[in-house]
């Protein structure tokens, strides 16, 4: 297993957000994490990265127990994050955002610029003056620049124009073909399901369903995703 969460419970201060999240994925897989607003998807991802340390349960990545490791060590093991809400560094230019945390590998500024030509045009501009969508592209590019074993995308297509969204999904599909492991949270099931090998559904901080996309029946969708 590349990534494995077992019985993860996480708190924000005194209030519990995760009550037992289980998740497992193999190298090369694309996994979708689903659930309605406020069900704990983002919190799960924060727990993986050590940003919201878990109180119970374990997280293992590539053979290491990372349940209580520091975020930067976790990231260096090969986890790349595209966070919810973009969180580009506003006081850095586009190029600097990409370079600041870059690590060696396939993805370089050139590759990222090829994937998102828009970013190449904006290279010297400060991130806080980018449009919402441009920031989203930058956040994806920034994560790729760390050349992760597993890239985690939390609502990475939010606010993107349909054409770009298609580009991103294509990019995700390409990445997957290249053997990149992917964990993705997204609201648009019609786009998410075709790339996913497996799905996990969260409900009130618990994993309530997992399986392959074809088994995700309308009934389940209705019950947990409100579709």
């Amino acid at each position: 297993m590349l990534l494995e969460l077992a019985g993860v419970e996480t708190f924000y201060g005194a209030s519990q957000a995760l009550f037992g999240v289980d998740l497992a994925m193999r190298e090369g897989e694309a996994v979708a994490l689903m659930g309605r607003n406020g069900m704990g998807k983002t919190t799960t991802i924060r727990s993986i990265f050590g940003l919201s340390p878990l109180r119970h349960g374990t997280v293992r990545f590539a053979g290491h127990d990372i349940s209580s490791a520091k975020p930067y060590r976790i990231a260096r093991l090969g986890l790349g994050l595209v966070p919810e809400g973009r969180r580009c560094f506003p006081n850095l230019t586009v190029a600097e955002n990409l370079l600041a945390s870059a690590r060696k590998g396939f993805w370089t500024i050139k590759e990222v610029n090829a994937l998102f030509p828009r970013l190449a045009e904006r290279s010297g501009q400060y991130a806080n003056s980018l449009s919402g969508g441009e920031q989203q592209m930058l956040a994806v590019g920034r994560a790729l620049m760390t050349n992760p074993k597993l890239i985690v995308l939390d609502e990475a297509t939010e606010g993107l124009a349909p054409v770009i969204r298609q580009e991103i999904w294509k990019a995700i599909a390409t990445l997957k073909q290249q053997g990149q492991s992917i964990l993705v949270v997204d609201k648009t099931l019609s786009e998410l399901l075709p790339v996913a090998d497996r799905c996990f559904v969260l409900e009130r901080g618990c994993t309530v369903w997992s399986g392959v996309p074809t088994e995700l029946t309308a009934a389940i969708q209705d019950r947990y995703l409100g579709v």
Binding site: F49, P71, F89, P90, N91, L92, S101, Y126, A143
Partner: protein, 306 residues
């Protein structure tokens, strides 16, 4: 008033400005770039001056003293970061204010405990003593020229470090979002310790260099602190260029104000009244300039995008 005097005063202003920059350089890094309000900056400056004076007195070499000042201040900075500042990054800026205010008390009294209550002796090194003649007949003190040189070297070095290196990008990124930069694999905690120590070392260097021109005594850091903040804020927080420009502006305005205002006031006052009234306005001048600049440009002269 001769033009030679005017030129010399302009040069004095410039030199004072660069000296201010040197005193503010460490603060630019810690406060401007890392975003930590470090009121104890003046204390680190004092630590540098005392270390230099003590070692210079013991070994007889100013240069060994200078090295000692760098080491002592960097070590003090690193200790402060690890034991105090590190716990405060995620807190309100105000907690940093209180903590570093406490550090001022600790450093001042600690230094007095170790070195006693009397000012120490620290003199300019032999090779830099005396004055040289400038074209136009003016005399200029060699050591002051050396300070200008040191200030410019520090300015360029800092600029390159912050604007051009990967390290600089990470520091700036960490300032705006520590959590995010660490989630991208950067050990921001250690990085901050290093930067803090570097900023402290610069404060120590300034303390040693300027200490040779002033009195090395407890409390020497406090006036510097305010001036350094003034300089950085005028220039625009986070901008090295701005800090240098701000420093030179303050230096020239202060010098020229002290020089010209009393003379100006003699035009419509009795000489001794003019002297005090002119001096009074001159002492307020940099604050007037600062208020004016911020009123017109609320983010300083070289506002950094943020």
């Amino acid at each position: 008033m001769s033009s030679a005097l005017l030129i010399e005063q302009a040069l004095n202003g410039l030199q004072f400005g660069v000296m201010l920059f040197l005193m503010a350089a460490g603060l630019t890094l810690i406060f401007g770039v890392m975003g930590v309000i470090n009121l104890a900056h003046g204390s680190l400056y004092m630590v540098g001056a005392f270390a230099c004076a003590a070692v210079a007195a013991y070994t007889g070499s100013f240069w060994l003293g200078l090295v000692a000042s760098l080491i002592a201040a960097a070590a003090a900075g690193a200790i402060v970061e690890v034991t105090v500042i590190r716990r405060l990054y995620n807190r309100d800026h105000l907690d940093q204010v209180l903590a570093t205010f406490a550090l001022i008390l600790i450093f001042s009294e600690g230094t007095r405990w170790v070195f006693g209550s009397f000012p120490l002796y620290l003199d300019i090194p032999k090779v830099l003593q005396g004055a040289i003649s400038l074209p136009g007949g003016a005399q200029y003190q060699l050591y002051r020229l050396a300070i200008i040189g040191a200030g410019l070297v520090v300015a360029i070095g800092l600029y390159l470090l912050i604007a051009k290196t990967r390290l600089g990008m990470r520091i700036r990124a960490g300032e705006s979002d520590r959590e995010m930069i660490s989630a991208l694999g950067v050990d921001i905690a250690s990085l901050n310790t290093i930067v803090f120590a570097l900023g402290a070392a610069l404060a120590g260097l300034a303390g040693a260099l300027v200490g040779a021109l002033q009195s090395v005594q407890v409390g020497m850091g406090e006036p510097v602190l305010i001036l350094a903040f003034v300089v950085i804020v005028i220039g625009g927080i986070g901008s090295i260029k701005g800090a240098l420009a701000g420093a030179i502006l303050v230096g020239v305005v202060d010098t020229m104000g002290r020089f010209l205002l009393p003379q100006l006031f003699t035009l419509f006052m009795q000489p001794s009244q003019a002297a005090t009234a002119g001096a009074a306005i001159a002492s307020m001048l940099i604050y007037i300039v600062m208020a004016f600049i911020l009123a017109v440009r609320p983010k300083g002269l070289f506002a950094v995008n943020a």
